[in-house]
């Protein structure tokens, strides 16, 4: 298991002591997961771990078995004596697993029993991440295991301060943030996902775009492909970064706005080669692509509601589809019937 140092023999069995230092391999693994490489199988075995040299009086911190969650928590607890209870969430982070119910009441109870936690510690308190509350009914865990659940902090980084302050949650510890850095770190996976799904489109654009006057022109092929890639980056990278400053509260509108700006920039850059039907097609297709990807980003934010996304989809998806179809028809017609 990652970070293993030695075994700790306790009456309830053997518990692995794990390091709070992340190694090079852990950092590479985290970087790969951010880029979607092997992300769905980036996990550690569920169960009880020891950090430092914990005694029966030391606190129990609960987390998910997504390796990135496990790494962040063990690193933040460096220099402390803590029990770490890792739940089986099938390699999914706390927040998403709580939404699915795998970081849930049942799994918490099961894991407390499987690790014989009641024999390991003398107290009856579990410290859970606040975002786990969407899956864990605290009162039920208590009635089934005797362990009281305390929702400690949102971010693992606040755990040291929480522990030092006599386990008090300050208002900032329970308020979500979504800073530029927090948004930027999500962009690789958005871009990878967008490019995967859209690769056939890119290929089609290059093939169709390159057809000119009976031959195939590389320069003609590059234009539409670059325009399209720009729209993907606009939706998956630029829109998330500029999220608070783009107009309206709707992600679809934010993305469409950014896409329009991109279309205007691309039009200005490509100048002469882009006129008539192609211009109209660009202004229809590029905002629709960016808008769709911006709408997809709702799944990565910590503040969009199901009802809100439903409403956006109902209103925006038909408009995007129409823009795409009309834009594509104009572009193809422009290519083949141009004078």
């Amino acid at each position: 298991m990652p970070g293993f140092l030695r075994w700790l023999d306790i009456p309830a069995g053997r518990v692995p002591v794990v390091s709070s230092q992340l190694r090079f391999g852990d950092r590479v693994g985290s970087w790969k997961a951010r880029w979607g490489i092997g992300r769905m199988s980036y996990l550690v075995p569920p169960g009880l771990y020891a950090i430092g040299d914990p005694t029966p009086a030391d606190p129990v911190v609960v987390t998910a078995n997504y390796k990135m969650s496990y790494d962040i928590v063990r690193r933040t607890l460096a220099g402390r004596n803590v029990w770490l209870l890792v739940l089986e969430t099938y390699g999914i982070n706390v927040w998403c697993a709580a939404g699915k119910g795998t970081f849930g009441t049942g799994e918490t109870v099961r894991r407390v029993e499987a690790t014989r936690l009641a024999e390991v510690v003398s107290h009856r308190l579990l410290l859970l991440p606040i975002l786990g509350a969407a899956g864990v009914r605290a009162l039920e865990v208590q009635s089934r295991t005797g362990f009281q659940v305390r929702f400690a902090t949102i971010r693992a980084a606040d755990l040291p301060e929480f522990l030092d302050n006599g386990m008090t949650t300050t208002p900032t510890m329970r308020e979500l943030t979504f800073t530029i850095a927090e948004r930027l770190v999500l962009s690789p996976i958005e871009i990878v996902a967008a490019l995967k799904g859209f690769f056939p489109i890119l290929l089609g654009l290059i093939l169709l775009g390159g057809l000119s006057g009976g031959g195939f022109s590389v320069t003609a092929a590059a234009g539409p492909a670059v325009a399209y890639l720009g729209a993907v980056l606009t939706g998956a990278l630029v829109t998330p970064l500029l999220l608070p400053w783009l107009p309206t509260r709707s992600f679809a509108v934010k993305g469409a706005f950014a896409g329009l700006v991109w279309a205007a920039i691309w039009h200005a850059l490509s100048g002469e080669s882009w006129h008539g039907a192609a211009t109209a097609a660009g202004f229809l297709i590029l905002p629709a692509v960016a808008s769709f990807l911006a709408l997809s980003f709702t799944g990565s934010t910590p503040f969009t509601s199901r009802s809100g996304v439903k409403k956006e989809m109902r209103l925006a998806l038909p408009v995007m589809a129409a823009s795409l179809v009309i834009g594509a028809a104009l572009w193809i017609a422009g290519k083949f019937f141009a004078a």
């Binding site: 998403c96 996902a193 997809s296 799944g299 910590p302 509601s305 009802s307 809100g308 996304v309 989809m313």
Partner: protein
Amino acid sequence: MEGFAYLRNVATLQLDRDTCIGCGLCALVCPHRVFVIEGNKSRIVERDACMECGACALNCPVRAIAVDAGVGCASGMINEWLTSLKIRKSGAGGCS
């Protein structure tokens, strides 16, 4: 959540103040400060900040809170929809 706000008047969050016992758990688990405890009752002060995660309703000891909880994720919902139409078998975009 400073600087971020999602669509107005869409959240399905409901609090039954008559049933509420003012234990404060809803305010403890909410990451968006939707509730405040006033006197011996909870009150919704920021309904539009609600992201419908369902933590409050799940943890309320007297089931005084109702919300159509789920994940606000367009890809997930498109996948659900495709699955229901039997176009795609199962699995969600990147988050299965």
